[in-house]
Symmetry: C2
Subunit: 365 residues, 2 copies
């Protein structure tokens, strides 16, 4: 049980170091047992300290979402980074990537002939130093090529001077109750089909890279060659409600104080916490029970979120917490939470042991 | 028309200086014409440069949400600050407030006897140097006392040694189509009733402080004595859809690049922009058409938002933008957007003229 130290003002992001370590070990072991490489997505935590723990536990490299994130982690010693995003490179980003390739193996995503041509033109002489993975749409219908575009994009990538070495996908359609299994199967099939098509056409495709925390543990041996889950290090309320983690496996919570309390009348029986969308983030899928959960009061419901308030409706049969009480909130989507604070409090055995800076916070491009 | 300069990497927050100036002047004039003081909520922008423009245009003081925000704006010269929040003060916050009272008039919110007692205990000898306004619930059912608690909380505030000088409310129930008028009327009535009750009981109530951008222009002469709108400086997609601003009055947009483009098959006809929830924020009320709007393509619909992607479904009768095109997104809730970037690009007459630092970003407590 994480303490809520009085020397930490609320709202504050707390990370339980023991649970974090267990989460990192569990995913490493599960993925390694299938002979798959783990390339965790560090946009979830944005902290070099945690990336280092993941690499020590056997991660083959890191995944990031932006060139700015890549820079932060290379500066902290990472030497193998995949920017799993169909970037439309700017001149500044290309300059930065050129510098990073001197210190790290860099891969980036492409999902169009125009995107490949733009990247190659901006990278000029260094294009061949960068690996490219083509993004395929495995059913999420966000970015990613469809089957009939694959060879055209692959040829454009090769002809532009970039080094095509793999395919990747993000099975985001696994983020719904009962869907992870189906999404994992669609992911495997989409990557296999794309790799087979490209290999048959003479492309040396070595990497078949998949997502995601809901689908990672379901990946079949012999399918994907690497996985890019992110959220698993912390867990969050979405994962809890999807059944991919338990409350004991939630490593990150937001300490909050009861600032207002309403036992009767004027709206529902409720408390107001000093943690709102500016620390929790306001993601709320249709299937979620609310805007996060209270880790020690799982039956309470966060029915509304303002910037600095969470409105929590309390179960009728439970006593309403007193004013000034400190409670811990599990955010719905933890990747947003870490991006909203400059540092996090690290706790172990009911003691505050460290503060970690969120070094890549706000690196939006 | 704001340019999307090639020297600004996307996603980037752009502020049109001329529209900003007009928005500040318009609200100042409208509120002054009713004899009401304007105390803009600076949590919207978190920038001393904009607070200075608001004060130059006649604002009586500033409203903030946290002690950390108060510190930033006092450090930049503000001398009259209302922390419009029922704070449960920590020792550190009380120390800071004590220091700030030497340089500025500070007011804070209270909505419970316990909250008042805690504040007074933590502030110790300086309690009398701080103004307190009691928050009343005018129908939003978040924080705020109900009528029958008012006198108890007022007496506890006085007896604890704090200086009770006013009442305030936040008419958050005005954030829905057709609701601003009703919310403004409930706001006026709640503040009048509370002030009358307290004055009759011998409390010297001088301030009746109301919200908010949807209701501010509807405030009646002779009701509230001050208003705390925030969003009006920029406008956002919520205000646009509520009808409280027009596209020409939107001063803040997020420049984004088309990174993926899907003319046919595999999901809807769409583009993917490189602006997601990590720059736009993911607030999305039930009545909103999507996760923001495109300022030059108001018929397009942002149907999904990932951390670094916006999925935009395009009108059937309009040509899909090319890959690499730059478009501008109006966020749904602009207060979240400024809190997600370290600095904003200021533009005027199609030129980048300045960068402003978001000095109070992330000041969560």
């Amino acid at each position: 049980m994480v303490p809520i130290a009085d020397d930490v003002d609320t709202p504050a992001v707390l990370i339980d170091r023991d649970i974090l370590d267990r989460n990192i070990a569990r995913m490493s072991t599960a993925v390694a047992a299938k002979g798959i490489a783990l390339r965790p997505h560090v946009k979830t935590h944005k902290m070099p300290e945690i990336a280092e723990l993941q690499l020590q536990a056997g991660a083959a490299g890191l995944t990031v979402a932006t060139v700015g994130e890549a820079e932060v982690f290379v500066d902290h010693g990472a030497d193998d980074i995949f920017i799993a995003y169909p970037l439309w490179l700017s001149a500044r980003q290309a300059d930065l990537l050129r510098k990073l390739t001197a210190r790290a193996r860099i891969a980036l995503g492409v999902d169009s002939a125009d995107g490949a041509a733009n990247a190659a033109a901006k990278l000029a002489g260094t294009a061949a130093a960068i690996d490219v993975l083509i993004e395929v749409d495995s059913g999420h219908h966000r970015s990613g090529v469809r089957t009939e575009q694959l060879l055209e994009v692959a040829r454009a990538t090769r002809d532009s001077g970039l080094r095509l070495t793999g395919v990747f996908t993000f099975p985001g359609h696994g983020y719904a109750p009962g869907k992870p299994g189906e999404a994992a199967e669609l992911e495997r099939r989409a990557l296999d089909d794309a790799a087979d098509t490209l290999i048959a056409a003479g492309f040396p495709i070595a990497r078949r890279s998949g997502g995601s925390t809901p689908t990672a543990q379901l990946a079949a041996t012999g399918g994907v060659t690497e996985l890019r889950p992110g959220v698993y290090v912390f867990g969050d309320a979405q994962q809890l409600e999807l059944g991919t983690c338990t409350p004991d496996e939630v490593a990150l919570t937001v300490a909050a104080t009861v600032v207002s309390r309403h036992e009767t009348a004027n709206g529902p029986r409720r408390i107001i916490l000093d943690a709102g969308s500016k620390v929790l983030g306001s993601d709320r899928p249709d299937w979620a029970t609310g805007f996060g959960r209270l880790i020690d009061h799982l039956d309470a419901r966060i029915v509304a979120l303002s910037e600095h308030h969470a409105t929590v409706v309390w179960p009728d049969d439970a006593a309403l917490p007193r004013l000034g009480a400190r409670l811990r909130v599990i955010p719905n989507h933890v990747c947003l939470t870490t991006n909203l604070v400059d540092e996090v409090a690290v706790v172990r055995d009911a003691k505050l042991i460290d503060w970690w800076k969120v070094a890549a916070r706000g690196k939006n491009n």
